[in-house]
Structure formats: structure tokens, C-alpha cells
Symmetry: C2
Subunit: 336 residues, 2 copies
């Protein structure tokens, strides 16, 4: 059960130091010694103990990615991108889910701090970053994902959510709609408030256009359906003709509520719908949904890139802020 360097060393007839060198700097060791050690490793089924290695190194070869919602395909794609880039650098990514709860987020950060991970990629639940600053003080760099961190000293990778919100609203306005609704929440989530801000700005540019906010507790299919039910009478009564949803899950839920049940609403004839994230389900929806696309995997890989920089620079280097531009994918939910 306990196969350690010591056993391997004994078996190969060398010292523990040599075994370690074979593992980490084989070029400093005579070739046939290397072979003998490898043979011993093979025979004993030796697997290095990561904990010991890490204890000595003071830092682990793994990164943590804390996302707001693993159920959201957007984040799993970001994770995919991060994993791929990390693998190139010989590191692994642990995925954790905060479920938009500050407590769960704190719990995960606590554990990662104990594990002394090499870095934390996080899409924070709240504005407050003191927790992350404490981490950095302890030598663990962090990079904010999907959230710009202008003022703070953290690097960040984000997509311009204000531009994205504007893109969505402008498209509805361009296709002749004037009474818009924005569905999303809670507003304390930066992405939501930014998208709303962008949509507001776009609406403000067009005279007679209005934008009404419908808050939600979370961004899920169910909440979308609930919002859709609430919107249904308003579309006929108050003439709402365009809806911007803060993400695609909401949009899909909204669509379902509008198109089914008694007295269905025609889309895009009576109302146009724009989602956000362009998850694959958006293209396969009842009426395929126009959506704002973000370069998901690129976000993940870039985040890893930045954290590697931050780790190399001993935390000294200037923080970098990478901002990607969103794009609009037009589908049948807004144009015939």
C-alpha cells in the first residue's frame, strides 16, 4: 500500500534523490540509471504522492474554476476551453459550482485556499472582492471570468455585456419594434445589470421606444416560463412587441410559455425574442432563437492564460483586462 520513492530507490539500488531526479530532471541522470529506476517504478506500480510533492512545492499544479451554474451550458463550454489550455501547461482544472450562492462560493474558496491551488478562475456572485484579495495576499492569484474588473487589481476576461445588451435591443428596434421588455435577474449579478444597461441605452437612442424590466430570482427555464406567463397578457394589452432575455435558458422558458397553452402568441409576428449566450439549445428551440453569442471556449482558455501570467509574475505584473465583443446570431424568433 505504501509505495514511496524510498522503495523505488531500494529496488533500483539508488538513492531517493536520484529517483526524484529521474522523475523531474532525467537529463541530469545517466541513461541506464534512468532505465533501472523506470523499471523499478513499473514493477512496484509506484504513483507519486501529489500531496507530498505539493507540500514541498508550496503550490499545486491545479487550478480551480468556480462558476455560477454548472447546469448552464455557457459555463461548461468555458470550462472546456479552460481545461484544454490548462492541459497544455500540464495542469488540471477543478470545476466547482457556486449556484449563485455567496455561501457556496465562500465554501469553495475556503477549500481551494486550503488546497493551495495554483490559481482561481472565478465568476463571482457578488461585487465584493475582499475574499479574493485575501486569497491573493496569501499568494494565490485569481482571474475574474465573465466579469470586467476595471478598478481592481485582478486580471479579467469578459465580454462586453453592455454592448451585448445594446446589440440585442437594437436588433429588435431595427426590426421595427418599439415596446420592449427585459427579463432577467437578480440585478446584483453584474452580467444582468450590464445587459440591462446596454439595452436601456439602445432604447434611449430611439424616440418613442420604451423598455420595461421584469426581474427574476434566477436564470432558469422555470423562471423563464413564469416570466413568460406574466408577459403573455401584457403583449396583447399593452403592446409589448420585443423581449430581451438575460440568457438563453430564460428565453427558452419564455418562448415555451408564450407559444403553448390557450391563446398562444405568434413569434416573430406578434413578439420578437432575443436570448443571450447562444447555447446549442437556442438553435433547436421551437422557433429558433436569435441570441447574443459569446466566444465561450476562448473565454476559458484566455482566463487560464492570464492566470499563468499572474502566477509567473509573482503577482507583481500589471493586471490585464481582456474584453471580447459579443455578436448577434439572428434566427427565426425575430425575423420571418
Amino acid at each position: 500500500m505504501a509505495v514511496s520513492v524510498r522503495e523505488v530507490a531500494a529496488r533500483a539500488g539508488v538513492s531517493v534523490g536520484t529517483v526524484s531526479n529521474v522523475l523531474n530532471r532525467p537529463e541530469h541522470v545517466k541513461p541506464d540509471t534512468v532505465d533501472r529506476v523506470h523499471a523499478a517504478i513499473e514493477e512496484l506500480g509506484y504513483v507519486p504522492n501529489g500531496a507530498a510533492r505539493q507540500l514541498r512545492a508550496g503550490r499545486s499544479r491545479s487550478l480551480a474554476l468556480v462558476v455560477l451554474d454548472v447546469g448552464n451550458p455557457f459555463f461548461t463550454d468555458v470550462a472546456r476551453g479552460a481545461e484544454a489550455r490548462a492541459a497544455e501547461a500540464g495542469m488540471t482544472v477543478f470545476l466547482a459550482n457556486s449556484d449563485e450562492s455567496p455561501e457556496r462560493e465562500a465554501m469553495h474558496l475556503e477549500i481551494f485556499e486550503q488546497q493551495r491551488v495554483g490559481g482561481v478562475l472565478i465568476s463571482p456572485v457578488e461585487e465584493d472582492l475582499t475574499r479574493l484579495e485575501a486569497l491573493r495576499a496569501r499568494g494565490i492569484p485569481a482571474v475574474l471570468v465573465d466579469r470586467e474588473a476595471g478598478a481592481s487589481a485582478f486580471s479579467s476576461v469578459s465580454v462586453d455585456d453592455v454592448a451585448g445588451g445594446a446589440l440585442a435591443a437594437r436588433h429588435l428596434l431595427d426590426t421595427g419594434r418599439r415596446r420592449l421588455a427585459f427579463v432577467g435577474g437578480p440585478l446584483r449579478i453584474r452580467q444582468v445589470s450590464d445587459r440591462f444597461k446596454g439595452a436601456s441605452a439602445a432604447v434611449a437612442d430611439v424616440s418613442e421606444a420604451t423598455l420595461q424590466l421584469f426581474g427574476t430570482d434566477e436564470m432558469s427555464l422555470d423562471e423563464g416560463r413564469r416570466a413568460g406567463e406574466a408577459l403573455k397578457p401584457l403583449i396583447r394589452d399593452t403592446g409589448i412587441d420585443g423581449i430581451v432575455a438575460a440568457n438563453d435558458l430564460l428565453a427558452i422558458g419564455i418562448q415555451r410559455a408564450l407559444l403553448f397553452g390557450p391563446d398562444p402568441i405568434r413569434m416573430p409576428a406578434e413578439v420578437g425574442l432575443v436570448g443571450y449566450d447562444d447555447i446549442s439549445f437556442a438553435a433547436s428551440a421551437v422557433v429558433p432563437i436569435t441570441s447574443v453569442r459569446q466566444p465561450r471556449e476562448l473565454i476559458g482558455s484566455t482566463a487560464v492564460e492570464l492566470i499563468l501570467e499572474a502566477a509567473d509574475g509573482d503577482g507583481a505584473g500589471e493586471p490585464r483586462h481582456v474584453v471580447f465583443e459579443p455578436s448577434l446570431v439572428v434566427r427565426a424568433s425575430t425575423v420571418a
Copy 2:
């Protein structure tokens, strides 16, 4: 940067052993000593080093969950259930994605072995379990998730996929269909072959009923669409009137291919469609999809339960096999 038990001990005017006791067995320490130590911890911002703790303990307080596809909501729900149960036991779950690739699976297992995780919950890509047996030999228990392991010495949590496949096919037969198609693959994935087996058995019970297999390379929306395109002419030409999809992603893709484009097919009038997993998107599909439901979160929490048992029993205890029964959720894709 280096705040260790030693500093805390010095600050509080006690020995390192006492600090450790305060952390792990506070009831053995005099209350006001506990307070002094806590104060020192607070002042110094001490966070225990997980690597050191783990090195000593020989095992970490974390579990690994290796799934076939993080993009599939089925698995994220299983993960949620596992996380919740693990949290109760004071453990964390690291989520890893094998993407149905044996190489990626092996890579993850390798890393988890090095990390000496407390246990591995895995939905294996292939039948071959020698890799897991090597893990167990090293003292790391494993539990198979979503896969029965009758003969082997591993505990498992699964859903009776044969019964599920039969449930799906029988429902189509009960609603009058006779020429069925099964879409899914690759067949080396046990879930797929079991579901197919169940469907075959159900079909064999009814005279004149037939079942045709359509293999896929993976279980994704895109592969579903491809299969749907291939099925389209066959429905009109050879009279296929019922489709069993090996999971909901495939089903959604199939549906999309059938309902759109030139010459759409009416559902459920011309063809009935049954999916598998009952992910939330299935209920929100163009025509809501009848699907075989599995108790997803329960699967995750039960798996953690079993691994805790296995870990306690020093690997000695008998392996347990928990098999849940699937149920059918009937929607508009099969009945008017």
C-alpha cells in the same frame, strides 16, 4: 506568506500539538485555551495547509466524479446530488469530464490517484475496469455511477436501463406503433446497449413489430439532427412510426430535423418519439418530448453514500448494487 501551526502556537503561547487539537478535537482542550488559539488564528489569518494534512492522513477529504459529458444536464444533476451529500459529510467533489474518451478518462484517474482522493465516482467509458481495480489495490475505493457492476467487486448505482428501454418501446407499441427505430451509439457504452436490449425485448413480445438500429458516434444534438435527416425519408417510405432515442439530446436533435426543413413530418401523428433522461429541455422542446426519467440527483447522492461505506469498511465490506427503476413521462411527442 508562511503562516503555519508553529506561528499560531507561538502567538497563542501553546504548543503545536495543542493548536492541532483545537482544530480537530476541541473537546479535549480547556475552553479558554481554545479561545486564545482561535484569536491567534484570526489575527494571523491562518489557513491550514490541506496538502500537509492530507500527507499525514494519507488520504484527502475530497471525492472525484468523472462523467461522460459535462455538457449533458443529466450528469450535472447527478453532480449536484453528489455534491450535496458530500457536503453533509464535510467533503468536496471535484468534477471531471472524460468526454467519452478513454484517454481523457485515464488521464483524470491518473491525476486523482496522485492526489490520493478519498474515492472515485465514475461513469466509465468502457467495460474494462482493470484501471479501477489498480486504484482500489492502492486503497482508493470506486463506485460506478449509472452502470451496473454485477460481477465486479465495485459498488454501483444505476438505473435499470434494460427496463427503461423496454418502457420506451412498449409505450410506442401501446400507442399502436409497430415499426420502430432505435437511435443511439456508440454501442460500447453500456447504457446505450442496455437500452437497446430492452427495446428489442419489448418489440419481440409483440408480433409483427420490428425494431431497426441507427448508430451514432456520440449522443449530441448534432448527431441527433444527422440521424433525423437520415430517418426522414424512411418514415414516409418504409413506414417507421416510432423512434426511441438513447438520450434526450439525440431526441431533441432528431425532432428538430423531422419538424423543420422541406417536407416536415407531423408529430405525434406520423411518428412518435421517446427520449431518455427527461432533461428540462425535453419538456420545452418544439413538441414536448415523452422521456424516460431517472432519479438524477438521487443517483449522485446514493453514489456518495456507497463510497463512504466502502471507505469506512476498509474495502472489506461486500459491494452493494443499488438499482433504481426508471419511469416514463408522457408528453405530446407520442400522444395527441
